[in-house]
Structures are given as structure tokens and as C-alpha cells.
């Protein structure tokens, strides 16, 4: 399958999950949304969200595939995959704060990473901790965090 088609599939699956969550709210279900099934006579789409995250598992199978095996596989992915999920980019939290939190989680010497970043970037420590940085300063911070971790890219989008 082409990457573009996969991307579309992911987007539509996300829409389905969102719609299902609303269905659950309307019918007053307090429990977590269940597996979602979609597809055609030939192919089947099985979708299940990681609880309390925006991430989900999507499996595309032939419709003749044993559904019990598919669900078992998805369950295993849910259990094994949860600790590996990247941090969620919360729109309510500034990018600067996300970068700082990411550094505190993954950089060595986490108790001192804020001091290191302040010194490395020349940015005032209090402003750094409050996450109140302008766009150019956020870019400087991004580069500093990436540099400390020895990587070029971080799983956090710049504004």
C-alpha cells in the first residue's frame, strides 16, 4: 500500500475513533471505547486506542482472517507498545515547556538539565522554566536539547 493511502487510512481511523468516543458519551457509557470494526467484504479494519492517549493501533487484514487472533495481536501491541509511545504534544503546553520536559525525561543528569540548557543557550533560567520564550528562542532551545541528546531531530514540532 502506498504511504499516502496509509496516511489516509490513519486519518479516517482517527475520525472513526473520535466519532465512536462521541457515541459512547451520548449513550452514557462510562467504560472505555471498545474495538472498532470497519471495512468491506474483502478487507477488515480493526482499530483500538491506547487508553488515555491520542495513539491507536490499526490492523488491516483480509476479512477471512480469524478475528480472535487479530484481537490477541492488537492486545499484545497495546501492552508492549504503551511504554514506547512518544510524549504527547499538548496544545495547552508551550513548545518551550515540552522541550524542557523532554530534556528532563531523556537527558543525562536530569536534576541539572535546566541549568545546562540555560547556560548552553544563554536564556534566563526563570523564563526557561516558565516556558515563556519567543519563536527564535524556542528554536535555540530545540537545538540545545537535540545537542545534549546527540540527535538532530526531536519528536516535538516547532511552532
Amino acid at each position: 500500500m502506498e504511504k499516502a493511502a496509509l496516511d489516509s487510512l490513519g486519518t479516517y481511523a482517527s475520525d472513526l475513533l473520535r466519532a465512536n468516543n462521541r457515541v459512547c458519551q451520548v449513550v452514557g457509557s462510562a467504560s472505555e471505547a471498545d474495538y472498532l470494526l470497519a471495512g468491506s467484504a474483502e478487507v477488515r479494519l480493526v482499530i483500538k486506542a491506547f487508553s488515555k492517549t491520542p495513539y491507536f493501533v490499526l490492523l488491516l487484514t483480509k476479512s477471512s482472517t480469524n478475528l480472535k487472533l487479530v484481537l490477541e495481536r492488537i492486545n499484545a501491541i497495546l501492552v508492549d507498545g504503551k511504554p514506547l509511545l512518544p510524549p504527547v504534544q499538548d496544545q495547552a503546553v508551550s513548545t518551550a515547556k515540552l522541550l524542557l520536559n523532554y530534556a528532563r525525561r531523556y537527558a543525562p543528569d536530569p536534576n541539572f538539565v535546566t541549568l545546562r540548557l540555560s547556560l548552553k543557550t544563554g536564556l534566563n533560567r526563570e523564563r526557561l522554566e516558565k516556558g515563556e520564550l519567543n519563536e527564535q528562542e524556542v528554536r535555540i532551545l530545540y537545538k540545545a536539547v537535540a545537542d545534549i541528546l546527540g540527535t538532530e531531530r526531536l519528536p516535538i514540532a516547532l511552532p
Partner: protein, 411 residues
């Protein structure tokens, strides 16, 4: 090489060809270097490399004169032996008077970095700045004068994770004016009459036992002891990089000076946590200090007795209140001896390493519960900072400000 160490018992200093030498571990070396390398707006790498070139030039020049070594081949071989003896790794010089290439195997900084951080992060830039300075200093002292050569690390194991490091050395187009080491610095004339501590720990006996330990580089040029990688470094290398770095901060962005000082204090704290923690869990501690320990405060005294065996000067706890506070005198601290030989005076107490190290000993004993022999790992270290009751320190008397000795308080 071991026989050339000169122990100054009254001042509790160790000299090596007229340079004060001190033990520190890879945790300290890496954290201090990282602090100086970190700011993109300061040329920290040059501070590290040039300082090494200056200090090691003085050491090597003195060694060649004292030992009567005159041929280039003998000088290069001696420099390589000394490098290994001090715990920095192994150097193999393939050089002439015009320059050349040097292989660095088992580098202290590269191996230490891989051991401490290698599983967590990648490194993209070479790490052996001290060795680069050492190589340039070796050629300066062998063929010419200080500042004649420049060196550069072209391959680093901390980056490649295989093989050995390579350092290229060439003659500089123009000789640079560099500043030699102040050597032993401004020493105290005689030990201060400090009150005898109330403890069953015999500081002098601990010193003698530790001074006799054969701590020198093994066949890989490494000093593996107490679960850390040790180096016996010229104290003035640490002093020079520390104070030059802070001078640069003061010049370029004084608002960040406090952060630089805090990070240097932390290098002292992390050093003591791992090195002293591991020493206090070792057989040597059990054998030498263990029989003197009756109370928990004796553990603190024992640690300060060890501190004064490492070439750091005469450390003595004046008062230790169980799990509450301690007051410690350092008579002839190595930081101050350098500072007073290099600067006219201090506006504020400037023994940053000791400011971090003194409270760290209280933290090891009372927050790390070292008597229970915990596993000294990053998780424990991280937890120390999450709990209440972390000991913090202050330098309340400072020889660099005119007091007769330096005094620290941790609570």
C-alpha cells in the same frame, strides 16, 4: 613514576615534578568538562585544550630536567609513560619535530563517557580535549617552547564507539603566548592550629594508609578503583579551566555566572557521591577506616580524612551534628593555592569544588544511607534531589578573601 610523587605531610598535598596532583573520578571530570563545553557562545574547547597544554608543559618540562632526559625519543616515551601513570589512557607518538599523529587508546574521557552516558545519548564531537593539550605540550617540551604546537583530535572513540582515538599535531604558524602553570601556587606557610575533632577517626592514620595504596595506571593506562575510573590530575588543570571559564562568563554574560558556579559545585557534589560512596563501600574502607567507626558522625569524619588523602589539602571536620549539620575547615585547599597565585583577590568565596563536595559527604551518609551499602547508581542519585532534607553548603570563611583557612558549613 610512583617514586617521584612527593607527599607534603603537614599540608597534605602531593607533588609530582613540582605540580600539585590530585585524584578525581570520571564523574567529576566529565561533568566539569561538559559544563565548560556546553555554552555555544564560549569557546570552551579552547579553554580546555590550552589549559592542558599550559599545565602539562610545566609538568613535562620539570620532569625532563629533573630526570635528565635529553633525547626526543626518550622524552616522548616518558610523556607516554606519564600519561598512562596518571590514568589518562595510552599514547603512541608517531611524530617528528615537524609534527605528526598520535594514537590515543583507552582514553579516560572517552571510555568514561561511554560508560556513564553512552547507553543514553550519542556524542557527535570529540571529547579528548585534555589529551589534545597534553600532546601539544609534549611536543612543546620535547622540541621547542610552550605554545609552539597545536593539536586536534581527528577521531574519537566516544563518537565512533570503536577503535582508538587519533590526534594530529602540527607547528602553529605563529607561536602562541601561553601562560605556564603557577606550580604549587601560594601555599600556606604552616598548618593552622585547628581544634582537634571529637571523633575516634585518626585522620593521620587514614592518610598514611591511603598514600601507600599503589594507585597508578594499569597496562591500559587506566586507574580502576572503587568502582570508578580515577585520574591523578595536576590540580592546576582543574583550577585553570574552572576559573578561566568563570572569567569568560563574567565577561560575556554576568547574569549566567551564578549558573556556571552552580554547575561547578554540582561537579564536586556528583564526584563525592560516587567516589566517596564507593570508597565507603570498599574493602579498603572496611580495613582502614572501619575499625575507627563508632558512631554515624565518625563516618563523616572518615570521609573527610579520606578527602585529605587525595592531594586536596588538609580537610578536617570541626563539628559534625548527626543528620543535622557539619562545619569543615580546609587548610591549604588546592583551589585557593592556585587562586591566590593567579588573581589579586576574591570578591566572594571561590572554592567551588569544595562548596559542592562538603555537603555531598553529608548527603552520602545521611540521605544515601551509605552504611546500608546501597547500589550507587543514577536512580539513587536522582532520588536524592527529590526528597526533602538535601544538605546544602556554603563557604563561610575563605583564604582567598583573607581568612587564615577556608571553612564550609553544610546543613
Amino acid at each position: 613514576m610512583f617514586s617521584h610523587l612527593q607527599i607534603d605531610r603537614p599540608r597534605k598535598l602531593v607533588g609530582f615534578f613540582n605540580e600539585p596532583v590530585i585524584f578525581h573520578c570520571h564523574h567529576y571530570n566529565l561533568f566539569l568538562q561538559q559544563t565548560i563545553e556546553d555554552p555555544d557562545w564560549i569557546d570552551g574547547v579552547s579553554i580546555l585544550q590550552i589549559s592542558a597544554q599550559e599545565i602539562f608543559y610545566s609538568l613535562l618540562k620539570n620532569a625532563f630536567v629533573t630526570l635528565g632526559i635529553e633525547t626526543a625519543a626518550e622524552r616522548l616515551a616518558t610523556a607516554a609513560r606519564m600519561f598512562s601513570f596518571l590514568g589518562f589512557g595510552q599514547l603512541n607518538f608517531e611524530v617528528t619535530e615537524g609534527g605528526g599523529e598520535v594514537e590515543l587508546a583507552n582514553s579516560h574521557y572517552a571510555m568514561g563517557w561511554l560508560g556513564k552516558y553512552g547507553e543514553q545519548v550519542n556524542r557527535t564531537k570529540p571529547i579528548d580535549h585534555m589529551a589534545v593539550g597534553y600532546v601539544a605540550a609534549t611536543l612543546d617540551a620535547t622540541f621547542a617552547e610552550l605554545g609552539t604546537y597545536v593539536a586536534e583530535e581527528t577521531r574519537c572513540v566516544a563518537v565512533t564507539r570503536q577503535g582508538s582515538c587519533r590526534i594530529q599535531v602540527t607547528r602553529a604558524p605563529v607561536r602562541r603566548q601561553l601562560t605556564p602553570s603557577p606550580q604549587m601556587g601560594k601555599l600556606i606557610e604552616q598548618p593552622a592550629p585547628l581544634p582537634l575533632p571529637q571523633t575516634s577517626v585518626n585522620y593521620d592514620a587514614v592518610n598514611e594508609a591511603l598514600w601507600s595504596l599503589p594507585l597508578e595506571g594499569d597496562d591500559k593506562g587506566q586507574i580502576r578503583a572503587f568502582n570508578v575510573l580515577l585520574t591523578r590530575m595536576p590540580a592546576n588543570y582543574y583550577n585553570r579551566i574552572q576559573y578561566r571559564f568563570l572569567d569568560e562568563l563574567q565577561k560575556l554574560d554576568p547574569q549566567l555566572l551564578g549558573i556556571g558556579q552552580d554547575l561547578i559545585r554540582e561537579s564536586g557534589h556528583v564526584c563525592v557521591f560516587y567516589t566517596f560512596g564507593n570508597i565507603m563501600e570498599s574493602l579498603e574502607w572496611e580495613t582502614v577506616v572501619g575499625p575507627m567507626l563508632n558512631t554515624d558522625t565518625d563516618w563523616v569524619h572518615g570521609a573527610y580524612a579520606v578527602a585529605s588523602s587525595l592531594g586536596w589539602g588538609r580537610w578536617q571536620a570541626l563539628e559534625v551534628i548527626s543528620n543535622t549539620s557539619c562545619r569543615v575547615a580546609i587548610d591549604g585547599n588546592y583551589e585557593t593555592s592556585y587562586f591566590l597565585a593567579s588573581y589579586p583577590s576574591a570578591d566572594q568565596p571561590s572554592c567551588y569544588f569544595a562548596q559542592g563536595a562538603v555537603p555531598a559527604i553529608m548527603n552520602v551518609v545521611y540521605n544515601g544511607h551509605i552504611q546500608q551499602k546501597p547500589v550507587l547508581d543514577e536512580a539513587l542519585y536522582h532520588r536524592l534531589f527529590q526528597r526533602n532534607g538535601l544538605f546544602r553548603g556554603a563557604e563561610v570563611k575563605a583564604r582567598e578573601k583573607g581568612d587564615p583557612w577556608c571553612e564550609f558549613y553544610a546543613q
